[in-house]
């Protein structure tokens, strides 16, 4: 029998890895062979350990005396994966026999292993690591190879990572464009050769003191022995200090310039891991692959960053701790290479009898499956009232009218929501609203387009009205030539002046990829290099503008011989597709057609993903990748399977936008209530409830005009022109401005939507609401004129503004308030004002 002390020790350990206290006993039972329950859960619903695994499962150590950390993961009966490294007992085993005559059988073992799972290489050869946790066992193979290194120290491989890790080369310190305090490092260390020069040669060599290494500036500044604007970054007993001191003492060698370089970062664990108690931890292991083939454990040499520190924090050595329930990505960076690990924190107790929510399509399957893992219960289905108002606002930017609401509520058909969605696509406001959104994205503004804005808007409108396939639309935008009043998609090019601008604009709008960083240097958070950027720019070098025939018209033509020159070297840069091969052209060929074909190809995953992600955000309030124009390896989707499935659906249906929108709008996920429950109140990325949001400037202006039946007059447009129909942000409207209409100054264009004093003042004393209520054409005046009762008028306003009938108490309140006013008219006006200022009106929910 195990001693009590040992049980206690195991219990404490288990608590720390994240098995709740209730699990301890069953696990101990497993461990010591006592009787255990048959099911996967104990009485309290906590899960049992079912299997363990080691990562990396196949370990290569380059050189002798080098170390490698491993992590042990337990798969529990509830399907969750948790770090059990600290429970593991490690031992070294002979290598798995290749055949029965294996000669290595009696060779000395090539490795040693410490308690915490750190393997150290002793000699060249093979071995296995054996791990035991409770009654589960796992093995990992280890191969110790010759490092192939002839030099003891190499700056790029051994020293440069120090500057990345402590942040010297970040963009707000010495990695800034002009460096800092006269000392400039390459951003995040992408250019170790330049950094070597900066540290050892520049500044008259005063940064490195070979005679008195301890007095080198490169040591005295970061230890704050002397004044340093960046403060103290490490102490004299740190690994960083010792590495630098050793290197300087050895004469600060550069080693072989040009290599070996860090090529890739591998991060373990590879799949999302769960932290289920406050004491649970997850150790990350990071392996760097170098250009010379070496693989090195760099777990303690990289820089970690948590995408959401309220959910999970990460220590400088890669230990992840939970903070609150939610999901976070841990970004890992060293020398221009990046990696990411995903963790989920579930600190709330398991839900008893987790409900099964009805599912309408794969969207619901994928969303609800994930929510169940996180033990979040989705909200209820929204009511018909909520649905009609929401889907009108989201799909056609317009409130339903009182009769439309009545008709929908009276419809008894079970398919009425789906039928309403279909019908809305036939409304002219659908094309208005989506050409407005796409106008924001494509910066349709006179600032760029001169007088072409109305033409461009009309063209976008037609694309939506006719449901032109999205890939066709984008090919036309990318590859058209002619006058901006005739060949309307050419207006797209007016927004970017230079080939470089067109690269960032195109990649952001259609690939959801931000390449702005790579314009000047290798992208710090992504695999894009500066060469990728310049290669893309070469597709746009032939684009030229001259004056068109008509006033202020521009004319786009192709100068076939115009090449793109490298901004510094002035050499001709060959056109190269992003992440793809160099492209060879026929003489005189318009290169943009090739770019457009590649960009919109079904095999270009970025294209479809970026599009579905944007559309999803418009309906769900948050992108599956968020922000939507930042699709990159280190900003992974919150639900990768969902993003991929939507993208595949979109491609398989010929880039049919209406099909995609219908798919989303018909999902139960979209139709969930915005009322939350105890489990999903804090959920912001799982789509467990609808996310309420204030109406946009245009939606709100149109809604007020519609409910009061008094159109807004915009300068130079006939009365009745609606805000969602305006071509550009220059159309003067104080109301639209203070309610945060898009300025269309850049393609990122995420609207801020903040509350402000100017808004409140305007709603209280401004003309927008007051003048409309006073107007002789308002329904107030009309209904009074038709001798309708106060109750009828109150009912009208509730239906028209909130898309629902008033509750009994609400009706009584309104009637009493009106009755006690100075006059009936005043009372009704005051009631209508209050309704138009209510949160339920101002918000889409």
């Amino acid at each position: 029998m195990p001693s009590n002390a040992k049980i206690l020790r195991v219990r404490n350990l288990l608590r720390r890895v994240g098995t709740a206290a209730g699990t301890v006993l069953p696990l101990v039972c497993f461990l010591y062979g006592a009787a255990a329950p048959k099911t996967g859960h104990d009485a309290k619903g906590d899960a049992f350990l079912e299997e363990i695994s080691i990562e990396p499962a196949s370990i290569v150590i380059s050189g002798i005396g080098e170390s490698q950390t491993v992590i042990v993961t337990g798969r529990f009966a509830d399907g969750s994966l948790r770090d059990v490294t600290r429970l593991a007992e490690f031992s070294v085993a002979p290598p798995a026999p290749v055949s029965s005559h294996s000669l290595t059988l009696h060779a000395p073992l090539a490795i040693e292993i410490g308690k915490s799972g750190v393997i150290t290489s002793k000699s060249l050869g093979l071995a296995q690591v054996k791990v035991v946790v409770s009654n589960q066992t796992a093995f990992a193979s280890v191969s110790v190879k010759d490092s192939g290194r002839t030099e003891k120290l190499n700056f790029a491989a051994d020293i440069a990572p120090v500057f990345s890790r402590v942040g010297c080369n970040s963009s707000n310190c010495h990695g800034a464009l002009n460096g800092q305090g006269g000392f400039k490092l390459s951003l995040f260390g992408y250019d170790p050769d330049a950094d070597y020069r900066a540290i050892v040669k520049d500044g008259n060599g005063r940064r490195v003191d070979l005679k008195f290494p301890e007095e080198s500036l490169i040591l005295m500044k970061p230890t704050f022995t002397i004044r340093h604007g960046g403060g103290q970054l490490f102490s004299e007993d740190s690994l960083e200090y010792r590495a630098l001191l050793n290197w300087i003492s050895a004469g600060a060698p550069q080693g072989k310039p040009g290599g070996p370089r860090l090529e890739q970062i591998l991060v373990y664990p590879r799949d999302q891991r769960f932290l289920t108690t406050a004491e649970a931890r997850q150790q990350l292991v990071v392996i760097g692959k170098y250009t010379d083939g070496r693989e090195v454990d760099i777990t303690r040499q990289v820089r970690y960053h948590s995408s959401d520190e309220t959910v999970a924090v990460v220590s400088p050595n890669g230990l992840v701790s939970p903070r609150r329930s939610g999901e976070a990505n841990i970004m890992i960076r060293s020398l221009g290479a990046v990696g990411v690990a995903q963790v989920a924190v579930v600190l709330r107790p398991a839900v008893e009898n987790y409900p099964r929510t009805p599912r309408n399509s794969y969207i619901d399957d994928l969303v609800f499956r994930k929510l169940e893992k996180l033990q979040i219960i989705p909200s209820d289905l929204c009511t018909d009232n909520e649905f009609i108002r929401r889907v009108y606002l989201d799909l056609i930017g317009t409130l339903p009218t009182a009769p439309e609401v009545q008709r929908f509520l009276n419809d008894r058909s079970p398919a009425k929501r789906s039928r309403l969605i279909d019908a809305l696509f036939r409304r002219p406001e659908y094309a208005d609203f989506w050409s407005l959104k796409w106008g924001d994205l494509l910066t349709n503004s006179p600032q760029f387009l001169y007088n072409g804005t109305a033409y461009f808007q009309a063209w976008l409108r037609e694309a939506f009205a006719t449901n032109r396939p999205y890939d066709v639309t984008v090919r036309q935008l990318l590859a058209s030539s002619g006058g901006t009043y005739q060949a309307l998609p050419t207006n797209f090019y007016a927004a970017g002046k230079k080939p470089e601008d067109m690269v960032t604009f195109t990649s952001q709008a259609f690939l959801g990829v931000s390449l702005e960083c790579a314009r000047c240097h290798d992208h710090p958070n992504e695999r894009w290099k500066r060469d990728d950027f310049l290669g893309m720019a070469a597709f746009f070098s032939q684009v030229k503008f001259k004056n068109g025939v008509r006033n202020n018209e521009r004319f786009l033509y192709i100068d076939p011989d115009k090449e793109f020159q490298h901004p510094q070297t002035k050499q001709i840069v060959p056109a190269k597709l992003l992440g793809g091969p160099q492209v060879f052209f026929w003489p005189q060929e318009d290169r943009r057609a090739r770019l457009a074909a590649w960009l919109t190809s079904p095999s270009n995953l970025y294209f479809a993903r970026a599009a579905v992600n944007r559309i999803w955000r418009e309906f769900m309030g948050r992108g599956i990748v968020d922000p939507v124009d930042d699709l990159r390896f280190t900003n992974p989707p919150s639900n990768p399977a969902l993003l991929d499935r939507l993208a595949r659906d979109f491609v398989e249906h010929g880039f049919d936008l209406q099909h995609l929108m219908k798919r989303i709008l018909n999902s139960r996920t979209y139709q969930l209530s915005s009322k939350t429950n105890d489990t999903n109140r804090d959920d912001s990325s799982g789509y467990s409830h609808y996310t309420m949001r204030r109406l946009t400037a245009e939606q709100l202006a149109d809604a007020i005009a519609q409910v009061t039946a008094v159109p807004e007059k915009y300068p130079f447009f006939y009365p009745g022109k609606r805000a969602i129909q305006l071509p550009d942000p220059i159309v003067d409207s104080y109301f639209l401005t203070i309610f945060d209409r898009a300025t269309r100054e850049n393609a990122t264009c995420t609207r801020k939507q903040t509350a402000s004093l100017a808004q409140s003042l305007n709603l209280v004393s401004g003309e927008m609401i007051n003048a409309k209520l006073r107007n002789q054409g308002s329904p107030l005046v009309r209904l009074i004129g038709q001798a309708r009762s106060d109750r009828d008028i109150v009912r009208y306003f509730y239906l028209a503004a909130l898309g629902r009938r008033p509750r009994v108490q609400e009706m009584e309140l309104a009637i009493q308030a009106i009755a006690k006013s100075n006059s009936r008219r005043e009372g009704l006006e005051d009631f209508a004002w209050a309704l138009l200022n209510s949160k339920e009106f101002l918000y889409n929910h």
């Binding site: 409140s760 209280v764 004393s765 006073r774 009584e812 308030a817 004002w833 209050a834 200022n837 929910h845």
Partner: protein, 432 residues
């Protein structure tokens, strides 16, 4: 004061149809209440006017002239004497030169950032921007710490708000109030007056009704957004009721001579409006011409000589004289600065590019000892050679002048502590 004007409504309220009784309503109201100040303002109740030179003014062509430097550094302008012996400034700031006894020049400011948006964020918030935290501007911090005075918004932006002016993680309630351009004829702040057919009784009826209608819907808000919206409504009511506000914004009541002394430019009238607002109780006013007007990469000397310097000279000198004559200079700190300086070397376009290593700022009032120069740069105004001051020091100094403990920490929504000044020290020599 009878909040609702009409007892009938109170009666309806007491029936309690909608959960929120009058007590709660009063509590909400109290939450948004002012903190009035009586009697003589304390020293720490100073106001601040920030004359913001967006784009980055060239130190070599304004307050740190280098007449002995080579031509491609010293540029086209000559220094002139001021009313303080030994201090020289640009010849195109003649009126400013005559009030040099009232201001101190810091020639040894240094920053770590030479990109506009990032540097503006740095100067206005004391922090370089971070993707994960939106830092509050100084105006917003002061609005939060000191609250409104005399029912006026504590933080006003003239003519408009620009990036980094905002409240960051403090939330929308502490953002700047937008005054508009006081230089336009018939200037008045929009929506400050009730429509003629609506009196306060009706407004109060409306407020009460709105509050009742909202009750059913409140539970849906899990992010406290509605609370922010409500606070702004309360502020709007307070402001509309305020005769102080109406008077303060009424720039047309100012004598013609005063208006033209400041200059009939957005900056001139902006400075005049700032004086009126500060006089009435506003705590922090930014005055700017617009966005990046001082970003003279090309045609630097023409732009400065013909446009930027003359209007600034009129406005700034008038502001200091006016504050002095009204005895308000001691209680008003006037800070004039941009986000960085400009390159000592004139470029091929006769412009100067961004330069953050050394630049000048000018401080007056609020206890600043005028007629002095702090710090110095080398022969090209390229590097600071004595008394270097960091942006953090400047921010600490400004907070300390209004009695705010700049070492205190705010917690961001994610619970990260953020000091008001990131390790800065008060620039003591300014007050010596």
């Amino acid at each position: 004061m009878d909040l609702f004007g009409r007892r009938d409504f109170i009666k309806i309220g007491s029936l309690g149809f909608f959960g929120l009784g009058l007590n709660e309503f009063f509590a909400l109201k109290a939450l948004a209440a002012d903190t009035p100040v009586h009697g003589k303002p304390l020293e720490t109740d100073r106001s601040i006017i920030l004359v913001w030179l967006s784009g980055g003014p060239p130190q070599t062509d304004t307050f740190d002239m280098k007449p002995d430097a080579p031509k491609e550094v010293r540029g086209l302008f000559k220094p002139i004497a001021t009313n303080v012996a030994g201090i020289q400034i640009c010849e195109h700031l003649p009126r400013t030169a005559q009030v040099a006894d009232k201001f101190a020049i810091i020639r040894s400011m240094t920053s770590r950032e030479a990109n506009h948006e990032r540097a503006i964020n740095y100067l206005l918030t004391g922090y370089l921007p971070l993707q994960t935290i939106e830092f509050p501007s100084m105006g917003s911090v002061i609005a939060k710490e000191k609250g409104p005075r005399n029912g006026l918004p504590p933080y006003v932006a003239v003519p408009n708000t620009f990036p980094s002016y905002g409240p960051g993680f403090l939330g929308g309630a502490y953002g700047p109030f937008i005054a508009g351009d006081p230089n336009v004829t018939g200037y008045r702040v929009r929506d400050l007056n009730l429509p003629t057919d609506i009196d306060w009784n009706r407004v109060n009826n409306r407020r009460w009704l709105l509050n009742q209608i909202d009750q059913y819907f409140r539970e849906i808000d899990t992010r406290n957004e509605f609370r922010t919206v409500d606070t702004f409504y309360e502020k709007a009511y307070d402001l509309m009721r305020s005769s102080v506000a109406k008077k303060a914004f009424d720039i047309e009541s100012e004598p013609e001579g005063v208006r033209s002394r400041y200059g009939r430019t957005p900056v001139g009238q902006g400075c005049l409006l700032a004086r009126r607002l500060v006089e009435a109780g506003v705590r922090f006013v930014t005055v700017s011409k617009g966005w990046l007007n001082w970003d003279t990469h090309g045609n630097n000397f023409n732009t400065l000589e013909k446009l930027l310097l003359p209007e600034l000279d009129m406005a700034y000198s008038a502001l200091l004289e006016d504050l002095h004559q009204r005895g308000m200079l001691e209680s008003t700190l006037v800070v004039m600065m941009g986000e960085f300086g400009r390159t000592p070397q004139v470029n091929a376009e006769a412009g100067r590019d961004h330069w953050s290593k050394a630049f000048s700022i000018v401080m007056a009032g609020g206890g600043v000892t005028g007629g002095q120069v702090l710090g110095a740069t080398d022969g090209k105004a390229a590097e600071v050679v004595s008394d270097p001051y960091q942006v953090e020091d400047l921010v600490a100094t400004i907070y300390s002048r209004v009695g705010i403990d700049f070492t205190q920490e705010y917690l961001t929504p994610i619970g990260r502590p953020v000091k008001l000044s990131n390790g800065g020290k008060v620039i003591a020599k300014l007050f010596g």
